[in-house]
Amino acid sequence: MVAKKHAFDIPLKILGYFALILVTATMIVPFIWMVTTSLKPPHAVFTYPPELLPRELNFENYTMLFTLVPFGRYFVNTLFVTVFTVVGQIVITSLAAYGFARLRFIGRDFLFIVCLATMMVPYQVTLIPLFLLVFGLGWVNTYQGLIIPGVSSVFAIFLLRQAFLGVPKDYQEAARIDGASEFRIYWRIFMPLNGPALATLAVFAFMGTWTDLLWPLLIARTPDMRTLELGLAYFNSSTSAFRQTNWPLMMAASVVVMLPVLIIYIFAQRYFIKGISLSGVKG
């Protein structure tokens, strides 16, 4: 990778930075807005001109959230459910992706098309049948009810399959000649080589599970089973028509839900980079 440096003209580089900074601003300003709004009193949200920084720091919303919500319990629940879902997704979908990408067996493409086709049906449609099924299994208000339906995902299979397809054939061939089993090839060659795809998948699975609302809403029936997102959704859920939306409170709840995902992401980010530079081997 220590290839000869591109003959980069300075102006182009400056232009590149300028573009990046512009995009960064549009990416990041909304989040700054979210954090600062969560520190404003309700009536100070809409001012003209808009105030990106609050005049005074008002942590009331956070104290309210933390005192009224059994935060620790929700956090542990969410972590438990998320970790199992993510690990399950990585294992199950990467196995399938290897099968679909690198092994040839009768009916493979048909089965893959079946998988893909299920991606095309909106989730809301199967919601009730799925709930009836999980209910029939006796999994309402249990961790398995929260976890098991999410441990595989067709999108993840598709994503990893694309990544596995990019690994040169020679690797697989050589390992086979050495007498390695397919599982060994999958585990020792394909998994390490596809760090970025796996990290991407992990972050997606983490984020999807961590912030899911509808499914926990149906499954978690007692407060001790609630996830963070669900617990916070109880705020501002009053249906009385007279209530004004309390934007700062909602923003504060969003910040609280988002923070752990952000931390996990920053951690996984290192693997992204590692993985992306590793995948440079391909060329």
Binding site: K13, G16, Y17, A19, L20, V23, T24, M27, I28, P30, F31, W33, V45, F46, Y48, P49, V91, L95, A96, G99, L103, F105, I106, D109, F110, L111, I113, V114, C115, T118, M119, M120, V121, P122, Y123, Q124, V125, T126, L133, S152, V154, Q162, A163, Y186, T200, V203, F206, M207, T211, L213, W247, S254, V257, M258, I276, S277, S279, G280, K282, G283
Partner: protein, 327 residues
């Protein structure tokens, strides 16, 4: 699902030449082929966990919902669901509001997929120039991706506020009159496209970046030596080599935008004047607000057919481009 195409795909998969086996074309029956050495049966074991999960938690509910689409299931009580054959589908053909929603969805897809792919490719190309501190930008760009739709929607509702929103404030600084982004039928869908592009940028960019980094630098250097401008080498070399990535993003992008739901649900509720009433939102309101389950299921299956059709067109196009494998 489309019979002829399916067979074709199977054929393509089954008969495509590979390095280690050329025996697929022979005339032996299926049973013999199943036990032949060229059938890597261990593959079934690999897909077994994922596929059994799919059968139990996706296919069974799906089949059930397909059955529902032939019933007049209104309200939660399943016992009151008389079988009515194709009546739901007949009604659907003349349901103007449904087709209006389909049109909105199509418009969303046509706007969102190219815009988001182009913007994210542009950013990825800049990122790929080995600038200092790229990791920093990449980290930041990914934050919207990992935020929940609810959080993102709440943020943007306040940002797009016609009077006190930051966007209109900035536009006001350059002399543009305030726009009622979410309140005007002309701009609401566009606003959703912008928000969705913003949210998905980081993901698409990472996928593009992985594709870009897989392209050998020597190729571009060779092109530069041959006197090609950057622009030319991008169009002639980079873009064609990115085809698998483009294809992946296009297919998942189309499938995803046909199913766009969360931002509409949280931000606009289908309005103003029905301009953001997209199909999945339409189906959701039918099912969960009007308790019209059977009919909503039939709408979902029509949507499924449309998405399938759109996906098949993309596969067909890719095959016509001379790709041997399906995907």
């Amino acid at each position: 699902m489309g019979g002829p195409f399916l067979e074709e795909c199977l054929m393509a998969g089954a008969y495509a030449p590979t390095t280690h086996t050329g025996k697929w074309a022979d005339e032996r029956n299926l049973w013999q082929r199943f036990w032949s050495r060229s059938n890597e049966r261990v593959g079934y074991l690999f897909i077994l966990p994922a596929f059994s999960h799919l059968v139990v938690f996706v296919l069974i509910p799906l089949v059930f919902s397909a059955y529902l689409s032939f019933t007049d299931w209104r309200g939660p009580n399943l016992q009151n669901a008389p079988f009515i054959g194709l009546k739901n589908y007949e009604f659907l053909l003349g349901d103007r509001q449904f087709w209006a929603a389909m049109k909105n969805t199509l418009l969303f897809t046509v706007l969102f997929v190219p815009i988001s792919m182009a913007v994210s490719l542009g950013v990825a190309v800049v990122m790929n120039q080995k600038l200092r501190g790229v990791w920093f930008f990449r980290t930041l760009f990914f934050i919207p991706v990992i935020s929940s739709w609810v959080a993102v929607s709440i943020i943007w509702i306040t940002l797009l506020d016609p009077q006190a929103g930051i966007l209109n404030y900035l536009l006001g600084q350059i002399g543009i009159a305030p726009v009622n982004w979410l309140g005007s039928p002309a701009t609401a869908l566009l606003a959703i496209v912008i928000i969705a592009t913003w949210k998905g940028l980081g993901f698409q960019m990472v996928i593009w970046l992985a594709g870009l980094q897989a392209i050998p630098q020597e190729l571009q250097e060779a092109a530069a030596i041959d006197g090609a401008t950057r622009w030319q080498s991008f169009w002639r070399i980079t873009l064609p080599l990115l085809a698998p990535t483009t294809f992946f993003l296009a297919v998942t992008g189309v499938i995803g935008s046909f199913q766009v739901f969360s931002p509409v649900y949280v931000i606009t509720g289908g309005g103003p004047r029905g301009s953001t009433d997209v199909v999945v939102y339409h189906i959701y309101t039918r099912a969960f607000e009007a308790y019209d389950m059977g009919y909503a299921a039939s709408q979902a299956w029509v949507l499924f057919a449309v998405i399938m059709f759109a996906t098949l067109i993309q596969f067909w196009y890719r095959r016509r481009q001379g790709e041997e494998t399906m995907f």
